[in-house]
């Protein structure tokens, strides 16, 4: 009888330990499980980018340059000792991320770019920028494309002119192809790419 109790106790203990170990192992591995879809990833990345961009545009540039007028924000900010423009801030971040090789890239493109190098180039970019402009930024555009022999998930989110600074600067820039932007207009798009195969 005593033996049977010992066997049962041992079995329960073993089972308990096994379950505990298995759950620990599961907890350790879950971070590597493919639970996040490319779309969830790009949506999350865009939420961060868009929020940071809005904070810089409204609480730094617009407040200090346009409202309080204590400093200016200009394209040649290093020479002018001024603040970088919000679009430049965004691009600098994108270039820094690109240098880190973290497996995704992003860029700020427009159908009406100041620098022609930032015009849509791939078929997906063209379709996506048309799409977000047509629906006035209510919905992002998602697609897949193959670039340089590799497959990517590409998401395009509308980039809207949120303050006077965005609209005014683009309308007045010597290189702009469009001079009638208004606040609330879709001025371009944020393109985020995630590889769908190992790089």
């Amino acid at each position: 009888m005593k033996n049977i109790r010992t066997i049962i106790a041992s079995a329960l203990l073993t089972a308990g330990v096994t379950v505990a170990l298995a759950s620990t192992a599961r907890a350790a591995d879950i971070k590597d499980q493919p639970l996040i879809t490319p779309k969830l990833m790009t949506d999350a990345l865009h939420a961060v980018m868009d929020s940071d961009r809005a904070v810089y545009t409204k609480n730094v540039v617009n407040r200090l340059a346009n409202q309080e007028k204590v400093i200016t924000a200009t394209e040649h900010w290093q020479d002018d000792k001024s603040l970088p423009l919000p679009a430049q801030m965004f691009r600098m971040g994108a270039e820094m991320v690109a240098a880190k090789n973290k497996g995704f890239t992003y860029s700020l493109l427009s159908k009406w770019p100041i620098n022609p190098q930032n015009a849509p180039k791939t078929e997906v970019e063209v379709a996506g920028l048309d799409f977000v402009a047509a629906n006035e930024g209510t919905e992002p555009f998602y697609s897949e494309e193959t670039l340089g022999g590799k497959k990517y998930f590409t998401a395009i989110y509308a980039d809207v002119g949120v303050v006077t600074a965005c609209v005014k600067c683009h309308n007045e820039h010597a290189d702009t192809p469009k001079t009638d932007f208004k606040i609330g207009d879709v001025m371009g798009g944020v393109v985020i790419r995630v590889p769908l195969e190992s790089l």
Binding site: H76, A98, A99, T105, Q117, G148, K150, Y152, A174, R193
Partner: protein, 439 residues
């Protein structure tokens, strides 16, 4: 059986001999030159005998070989084509045409037959690969040959700090000479610490040495003999008769780092013996052929006279047309006036004024400081790098653009007006006129 043994021994001997020979060549930097596949560029020939600065043991190019020497400089000059611009997959098609995400795509070494100015080994019209539509976007550029983008004095691939439209536009009407012609001056000389004594030194020290030291900035700053001649300035440590550059670097870290980055000191940085004028590819005085380049070559030990280092020292080795023309140049006259006390500080133009310029930067405490750039190449190639750091301190943009593009004028050491014209400003004005017409 005996025959087999002989064959076996012979082969074994040949193989071991070959392996030994390879090892000798491999570990003896001076002998590695036997394997150099073609002449190295003017920027790298000083270190060509040490393959491993750039190559792996298997002779492929190290992934970080270029960056280890050039990264900081590229960042400082706001590289307009950094690699991170090309790694975006949207540029994959362009990379198929020209792999601009790799330095060696445009800068191949050991290929003298295809090497152009700035060590570029692509055909001169390489800009066309990405900017073929420039004529449409910018009508002023329609029909311009792509071979001229870099050669015209209008653009550079990496450094455009002084060559962008807004910068030139702002200065397009500047006169040839500024009203105030003065370069940035260094911090005031330190107040003498008292007492300024040399400290302990060997009894047989030449009195001239003491005299030179007494008149030097070192003496004024209270830097005694021990600071250089005894490790860490510790008088208990043994006397070092000939202190090396490490000793200078204890206090002058930035200048020593700059020196080692440029053509003068890159051999030392690579662990080779110091550069000598005999090893140079540009004309040097025969009398200086075998002088080794260290801090003390230009800054005479003990005297450390920065004025001598700024012109006289350069002229004691360099013997090219530009250097030979310096003595009679307007710049040299201003320098003579400054050192004689007639001209104000910063109004003279020595060799160093342009080639080892004083630059202001922020130190680790974010304080703005003025220091001397000791990398002689930092603002030299392409020479437009000099526009912001030096030329504009005294001259207007239109004259500077033309002068720097005028090889004959450079050879005459800027004695006279430029006879070459760079069209940048004309194109800016033309573009404005076209815009005004279209409105």
């Amino acid at each position: 059986m005996k025959r087999k043994l002989v064959i076996w021994l012979t082969w074994s001997g040949v193989l071991w001999g070959a392996a030994g020979l390879c090892a000798v060549f491999f570990f003896q930097p001076k002998l590695q030159s036997a394997f150099i596949p073609g002449s190295t560029t003017r920027g790298h020939h000083q270190i060509e005998n040490d393959c491993q600065v750039c190559h792996t043991p298997w002779m492929s190019v190290k992934t970080d070989a270029c960056n280890q020497c050039h990264e900081e400089d590229l960042k400082k000059h706001r590289d307009t084509h950094p690699m991170s611009k090309f790694t975006d997959p949207r540029n994959a098609d362009r990379l198929q045409t020209i792999a601009a995400d790799e330095c060696v795509t445009c800068h191949q070494e050991h290929r003298p037959e295809i090497t152009h100015a700035m060590g570029v080994t692509q055909p001169d019209d390489f800009c066309i690969h990405c900017h073929q539509d420039v004529g449409t976007d910018r009508p002023t550029h329609a029909g311009l040959p792509f071979t001229g983008c870099n050669a015209s004095g209008c653009h550079n691939y990496h450094d455009n700090t002084a060559l962008y439209e807004a910068f030139i536009d702002k200065r397009k009407n500047d006169p040839a000479n500024n009203r105030r012609q003065q370069v940035v001056t260094r911090a005031p000389r330190p107040e003498p610490k008292t007492p300024t004594v040399p400290g302990v030194f060997p009894e047989d020290t030449d009195p001239q040495v003491l005299h030179d030291w007494q008149a030097s900035a070192h003496a004024r700053a209270g830097v005694s003999c021990a600071e250089c001649h005894q490790e860490g300035g510790d008088v208990a440590k043994p006397w070092i008769q000939r202190p090396g550059m490490d000793s200078c670097a204890r206090c002058h870290e930035g200048p020593v780092k700059g020196f080692k980055t440029g053509l003068h000191g890159m051999r030392v940085a690579a662990g080779l013996s110091p550069m000598t004028p005999a090893q140079a590819r540009i004309p040097m005085l025969a009398s200086a052929a075998h002088s080794e380049l260290t801090c003390n070559s230009c800054h005479a030990p003990h005297a450390y006279d920065t004025r001598k280092a700024a012109a006289e020292s350069c002229q004691s080795c360099h013997d090219d047309t530009h250097t030979r023309a310096y003595a009679a140049s307007p710049h040299a006259k201003l320098w003579a006036a400054e050192i004689s006390g007639v001209g104000k500080p910063g109004t003279g133009v020595s060799c160093a004024t342009c080639h080892l310029p004083r630059t202001s930067r922020f130190d680790e405490n974010d304080e703005k400081i003025v220091s001397v750039e000791h990398n002689q190449n930092a603002n030299l190639r392409p020479n437009d790098k000099m526009i912001r750091t030096v030329c504009l301190d005294c001259h207007g943009m239109p004259m500077v653009l033309d002068a720097l593009a005028d090889r004959a004028l450079i050879d005459r050491n800027f004695d006279g007006p430029p006879s070459v014209h760079v069209e940048s400003i004309d194109l800016i004005l033309k573009r404005k006129a076209l815009k005004a017409q279209s409105k």
